[in-house]
């Protein structure tokens, strides 16, 4: 079901993805919101980083965009508006399974956190990369083979490795295979859920460079989930900071990292060690929560 919301705006000037008032809870406890009234947008060809501690709801937000929430969870409300250049704006939360399946892997792709567990161990990596090409673009035979070889080459793996099984590759190579799979159909939106957390620093630097090259080459919008502020500083255009299911601060990279406003962002930045060793390391401080409690009582605004 494609809902054309505002036809008077040209497709190019609208953001690629607009999340509006997204809320998620478990089905058993609908009152306890795991993601609470989250709104942000991703521009075409830009990277938005979502930062937060574990349990802050960053991965749930990503899964909700893809429509991959587990059965124990439910969407309590909100819209996920995806700007499909060909078909206009669609609300992903209202699509039926079939149309969602057509979008996934084609227009919207995802890189998962664990390269060791997200690949199928009994299929060759070439087959796994080719799957989405065959499904969405209908490629077959020689053309499919060539495309797979091109993709492997693009992510820096020798094309003859297409016949290897995932266990024959190193962690970094597996993550590259995941990237090759996700960019196979040249998606306009790429969601990367901590794609480099499990990797060494040197490999991480290569992967980040690769992603940023691909982003500019294909003009892809990217949603990048991480808890490493170093990575944020390297790749983000915009930053969203989440805490306990809510957005506490959002803005451009310069605003959030250079001049953080919210006490949580400040506390989070203060506990990141720097490479020069000049900064005083401070443990995370939740004292602001108490202050905010008073403010809430005063203004009568209820935070989950």
């Amino acid at each position: 079901m494609a809902v054309d919301l505002q036809t008077d705006h040209s497709a190019k000037s609208r953001p690629l993805l607009q999340i509006e008032h997204l809320s998620i809870s478990s089905k058993k406890m609908p009152d306890r919101l795991l993601v609470n009234d989250v709104s942000f947008s991703i521009e075409i060809g830009k990277t938005t980083c979502v930062v937060g501690e574990s349990g802050s709801g960053k991965s749930l937000t990503a899964l909700a965009i893809m429509g991959l929430l587990s059965r124990q969870l439910q969407l309590n409300g909100g819209k996920v508006l995806f700007n499909d250049i060909d078909k206009g704006v669609v609300d992903l939360t209202r699509l039926d399974d079939e149309s969602l399946r057509k979008l996934r892997g084609d227009k919207i792709a995802m890189i998962f956190q664990e390269p060791m567990t997200s690949l199928n161990p009994v299929l060759t990596v070439g087959y796994q990369i080719g799957e989405s090409l065959a499904t969405h673009l209908g490629l077959k035979g020689e053309r499919l083979k060539n495309k797979i070889a091109d993709l492997l080459d693009m992510v820096g793996i020798p094309p003859e490795r297409a016949n290897s099984y995932p266990d024959e590759l190193s962690g970094g190579q597996r993550q590259r295979v995941m990237i090759a799979m996700s960019i196979a159909c040249e998606p306009s939106l790429l969601i990367a859920d901590e794609p480099t957390t499990a990797l060494d620093v040197t490999v991480q630097a290569q992967i980040l460079k690769l992603l940023s090259d691909l982003k500019s080459r294909m003009n892809m919008g990217m949603l990048f989930i991480t808890h490493d502020f170093g990575v944020v500083a390297d790749i983000a255009d915009n930053v969203v900071v989440m805490f306990r299911g809510q957005i506490v601060e959002a803005g451009t990279r310069e605003q959030v990292l250079g001049n953080p406003q919210h006490p949580y962002t400040k506390a989070l930045l203060a506990c990141v060690p720097d490479a020069e060793g000049t900064k005083q390391l401070r443990p995370i401080d939740y004292a602001w929560l108490a202050d905010e409690g008073k403010e809430v009582a005063a203004t009568g605004v209820v935070h989950g």
Partner: protein, 267 residues
Amino acid sequence: MDENILIAKNLVKTYTQRSGRFGFGSTQVKALNDVSISLTKGKTLAVVGESGSGKSTLARCLLQLQPLDSGEVLFQGQDLARLQPSALREMRKNLQMVFQDPFASLNPRMRVGEIVGEGLLIHDIGNAAEQQKKVLAMLKRVGLTEADMQKYPHEFSGGQRQRIGIARALVLQPQVVVCDEPVSALDVSIQAQILLLLKELQQEMALSYIFISHDLRVVRHIADDMVVMYRGQVVEQGAVADIYVRPAHAYTQNLLAAIPGKRVVSG
């Protein structure tokens, strides 16, 4: 006073790996290839390198958790590699380890009090009441409470479990603690807490740390000296402050260049 508390000389450790068709062949992988390090008393020596460089093998070989092929580990004038098993066990009181994965390194069927107290029991230090008291004091020191003694590991978060792991290692009042990536599995916010705790404890208890890590930002904050490992060999060693300013080896330069976020973040 620059006294070396732990010296390792010419350590060699080789693993045999299956290779070739159906794994019938075998190749030798040198995990440690003539590695020599020395730890100054009361200081922290960081061992850095990418996965597969032999860092963890070095940690395990230092404590004799894995047999060495050759080389010697000198602690208090004795070569740990040649000690009899019973003498080695006695010596382990002074040499403890904090493990990488707080989810896998605590026995899920033991209560926290038992986990932390087990070392005291094995080494027969004090009677039951004294042991209880020591365990409680140590748990409180790392930021846990008396009620936590009766709980099981699964009831704790990653950061709390790492605190339990630290309490377990330190209750015996060791002299050398080997920390094998103690913060790599934790969130940045928790990571800072644990790093600061380790630093405080080092000063209070006069500990010497061997700190294994691949995060050079963490190393810069906690270590005094560092050893850079690459494919089983030490390619560079010296004071942290010097190496970060003037890395001599190409691999070290690569590692330093790969630190994310060098460009922006200003606190």
